[in-house]
């Protein structure tokens, strides 16, 4: 895989336009759209997922 930008704004914008607003998938693509290289996207996705796990965990705790 080359080291250049991989996640073009154009493609991600097109993908976003086909995804429902507010969905988790939308959030993942939004995260990728701010990154340029694979490593940045990986880091970004990991952060989104980690944040989501923390939020769900907090909600489960709060529901208790």
């Amino acid at each position: 895989m080359n080291d250049g930008p991989l996640f073009s704004e154009e493609n991600l914008a097109a993908l976003l336009s086909h995804l429902a607003e507010g969905s988790f998938a939308h959030q993942l693509v939004s995260s990728a759209s701010t990154a340029a290289a694979r490593s940045e996207v990986e880091t970004g996705l990991a952060k989104v997922v980690e944040d989501r796990v923390a939020a769900v965990r907090e909600a489960l705790d709060a529901a208790a």
Binding site: E10, N11, L16, A25, L28, V49, V53, V56, L60, D61
Partner: protein, 841 residues
């Protein structure tokens, strides 16, 4: 102006010394016979843009076969290998770009190179508007090995190629990354949950464990408490419902310990006491203050302090400003003001001494208490085992071995236990020594004598050393005892059937951790389900994007297909995905029947001829280039051998369309006719003509600018001159004759135009070499030139050598004469080919 203004190639593949190509026109034609270095020019541009050769990726086989493939094999190892170019940016400024090969490909490693723009190192050329496509075909350079790649590759590779062309590989990658991030949530369960699930096989306890796992976070502690209650009842313990969780945990632990103790006296191996606290007597400030105070007071005088206080309390003495009578001995005027002041000082010092005395006593008493505590409790840390006799120890060892069924770590504990006991004794002795020293100090205070603080500090240091020794010995024993007891405990639990209760006790002791682990796992599971839903949404959205992109691609391929094959009864229909498009991309063709009948759709790869597949590959490449709005395309032999009938459509429609879109086009070809058609069709706009030839591989390929058709024809002939084969000589003769005719025509037309005699090359279109030389002769300006032209005519006249082409020497002589004529008559500004061109236009 074209974006690629010039190109220099040095040491790269077939090139040795630096060769330069100047591109002043939007269309350039590089002609070269096979194996002369033509493809090296295309690959040099690819290397400049990408720092690699796609040939290595596409041709399969072992990558080791490309070891050292970029450097001209005839050059020394330290020779420079570089491709340089002048590239115009969006504002019209031209920048010098250089790609220097630092290390060629090796058997197992990629090549390395340095790219600079105006001397500054860069990663890519995006700042100059050169944006690369996704791999594998990143550069807008169509090479022979890449033309058919998409069509001949495996379905997966073809799919990847078109996803690369459409720049949609990143969507696949994004999907894969999302999927992978979901996998990270499938981590192994936390150890505490693994323990909980280990209870599932225990009937009654398993049900309780299942209830704990299913409980809401707020109810987990209650579920654990209930399980503890049930477990305690099973052990025969009587507990009240009001007993809280901590008490139940303690009760279960105690019940289990009690139960285990019956099988093995583990308590004898436990250290129940706490290690004595450290004592520090390096600084005894009150004792030191006492020593200072006592220095100020004379002991004998101090006994009169109370008398002095009584005298000083007499009113007339308290306020006396002159000598007064002594109230004790009644001596007249015995108490002078100086004597009264001296009594006051004595009283004050004695008072300070009393305070210091009290403080020192408090300080020493506190120290004494701490040391007495050590004396009293130092032995509590000694485990029972240290005091057992040998027969009892042997009994323990036998019991432990029977429980484990193998040798135990029991025997090494003995000396460690004795060390603890010995250290405790030494500590007690040291403590008693400190006690004695402190008692002596207290006695000194009582006797109004100085305290020996240094002696106290010394014995307290000894005490601390012994305390640390005990700490070390106890720690060693505890560690070894824990290693010994852990399997004993499990073995006893197994034997008694209480091992699950032990696990329950452990879980209950960390109910906070259990709750936290359960909540964390539930959160991960929920997010994993969300990610799976997200993946399904992404797949749908991705498919929609693919369809849009494929539709755009189809339209663009169709456009180029129609330009290449306007009258074909087979039409390109579409490129589309099969399923998700992850593995398969299909090309659809329409087979046109009789007018009025619907076209029949088939897979293009199945119905297209070889020639049609080439055209489809070219159409796909051009579609990609135009969809990417690339400012430059390089086409290496775009019209295949055996496909000559489509030269005209390529020249007339495809090149025209590219030039109209403002794309700089560099065509490389061996095909004379294609070359001729391009020169003729675009003569008015201007065609940058170059010829590539390779006389001796060690010298490298050379590039010659062929400013006009005559020069180009001469260069072509040159490519055949080194061969003695009959066919080559025949070809060389034909090319030289065409070059001679062209040179003669241009000299004649230029000469007539110079005399304002309107004419054009078209006027001489049908004339052959003999009549042309006759008409040329009057225009020749050097005395020996008419003779040389006659020789050219004799050597190259086809009628004179139908059966035997000229010899190599004859051909070289004719080539030399014609080159001289070209230099003499057509390379001066006044006789430039532009004059001819303008006249023809």
């Amino acid at each position: 102006m074209p974006p690629l203004e010039w190109l220099e190639i040095e040491g790269f593949r077939s090139f040795a010394e630096s060769q330069r190509l100047e591109f002043s026109e939007g269309l350039a034609l590089v002609w070269g016979a096979n194996s002369q270095g033509k493809t090296s020019v295309a690959e040099a541009i690819e290397f400049l843009f990408t720092g690699a050769t796609v040939r290595r990726e596409l041709l399969g086989g072992a990558k080791a076969e490309f070891d050292g493939c970029l450097r001209n094999a005839h050059l020394p190892a330290d020779a420079t290998v570089a491709v340089r170019a002048g590239i115009r940016d969006a504002d019209g400024g031209v920048h010098e770009v250089e790609r220097l090969l630092d290390r060629d490909y090796t058997a197992d490693a990629d090549c390395e190179s340095t790219l600079t723009v105006d001397g500054v190192a860069v990663d890519d050329l995006s700042q100059l508007g050169i944006v690369l496509a996704d791999p594998p075909l990143r550069a807008p350079v169509l090479l022979q090995h890449s033309l058919r790649f998409a069509l001949s590759a495996r379905p997966q590779d073809r799919s990847n190629y078109f996803k690369a062309v459409l720049e949609i590989q990143d969507l696949e990658l994004l999907r894969d990354l999302v999927e992978a991030s979901g996998e990270t949530l499938r981590a192994a369960p936390a150890p505490i949950l693994a323990k909980l699930r280990g209870l599932r096989t225990n009937g009654r306890l398993g049900e309780l464990a299942a209830k704990i796992e299913a409980a809401k976070p707020s109810a987990i502690a209650d579920a654990v408490s209930s399980a503890l209650g049930a477990a305690l009842k099973d052990l025969g313990a009587s507990i009240g419902d009001e007993l809280g969780l901590p008490e139940r945990v303690a009760a279960l632990a105690a019940a289990l310990e009690s139960s285990r103790e019956r099988s093995f006296p583990s308590s004898a191996y436990r250290v129940s006491g706490a290690l004595p606290e450290a004592v520090d007597a390096s600084d005894l400030p009150a004792a030191e203050a006492f020593n200072s105070a006592i220095d100020l007071v004379d002991v004998e005088t101090a006994r009169l302090t109370k008398l002095f206080e009584a005298v000083l309390a007499v009113p007339q003495i308290e306020d006396a400003h002159a000598a007064v009578d002594c109230p004790v001995c009644e001596t007249p005027e015995a108490l002078t003001p100086a004597r009264i002041a001296a009594m006051r000082t004595q009283v004050m010092n004695a008072t300070g001494l009393r305070r210091a005395e009290a403080d020192a006593r408090t300080e020493l008493t506190s120290l004494l208490r701490r040391v007495q505590a050590i004396t009293r409790t130092g032995h509590e840390i000694v485990p029972v085992v240290a005091s057992l006799d040998a027969p009892t120890l042997n009994e323990h060892e036998t019991a432990a071995t029977a429980l484990l069924g193998e040798p135990t770590l029991h025997r090494p504990l003995w000396p460690l236990a004795k060390d603890v006991k010995a250290s405790a004794n030494a500590l007690s002795n040291a403590a008693r020594t400190v006690e004695d020293a402190v008692q002596s100090a207290l006695a000194a205070i009582a006797a109004a004598k100085p305290i020996d603080t240094a002696a106290i500090a010394a014995v307290v240091d000894d005490l601390e050393r012994e305390r640390r020794n005990l700490e070390t010995a106890s720690s060693s024993f505890s560690e070894a005892a824990a290693a010994f007891l852990a399997p004993i405990k499990e073995a006893v639990d197994r034997k008694q059937g209480t091992d699950d209760l032990r696990v329950l006790a452990e879980l209950a002791a960390d109910v906070g951790g259990l709750r936290s682990a359960l909540v964390a796992e539930r959160a991960r599971a929920q997010v994993r389900r969300e990610l799976e839903r997200a993946l399904r949404e992404l797949d749908k959205a991705k498919a929609a994007v693919f369809d849009e992109k494929f539709a755009a691609m189809s339209a663009e391929i169709d456009l180029w297909w129609r330009l290449l094959r306007p009258d074909e009864p087979v039409r390109f229909a579409s490129v589309r995905r099969r399923g998700t498009g992850r593995r398969f991309v299909m090309f659809k063709a329409h087979l046109l029947g009789a007018p009025g009948l619907a076209a029949i759709e088939r897979d293009a790869l199945g119905v297209f001829s070889d020639s049609q597949l080439n055209a489809l590959g070219l159409a796909a490449f051009l579609a990609r280039a135009t969809l990417q709005r690339t400012p430059l395309v390089v086409l290496d032999d775009p019209v295949q051998a055996g496909d000559e009938e489509h030269r005209a459509t390529f020249v007339g429609y495809v090149l025209e369309q590219l030039l109209e879109r403002g794309v700089q086009v560099i065509v490389l070809t061996y095909d004379d006719m294609l070359s001729k058609l391009i020169h003729h069709r675009y003569e008015a706009q201007g065609v940058g003509g170059f010829s590539v030839s390779l006389d001796r591989p060690a010298d490298g390929s050379t590039v010659t600018r062929t400013t006009n058709t005559a020069e180009m024809l001469l260069q072509r002939a040159k490519a055949y001159l080194e061969h003695d084969d009959r066919e080559f000589r025949s070809s060389a003769s034909g090319h030289l004759r065409k070059a001679a005719e062209r040179i003669a025509k241009e000299i004649i037309v230029n000469a007539r135009l110079a005399k304002a005699d309107a004419c054009s090359l078209a006027d001489y279109e049908d004339k052959t070499l003999g009549p042309l030389i006759t008409e040329l002769t009057p225009h020749l300006t050097k005395a020996d030139h008419p003779g040389k032209w006659k020789v050219v005519g004799d050597l190259l006249n086809p009628g004179s050598h139908d059966d035997a082409p000229p010899t190599k020497q004859d051909l070289k002589m004719a080539f030399g004469y014609l080159r001289e004529a070209l230099r003499e008559y057509l390379r001066t500004p006044a006789a430039s080919s532009n004059a001819v061109t303008a006249a023809d236009a």
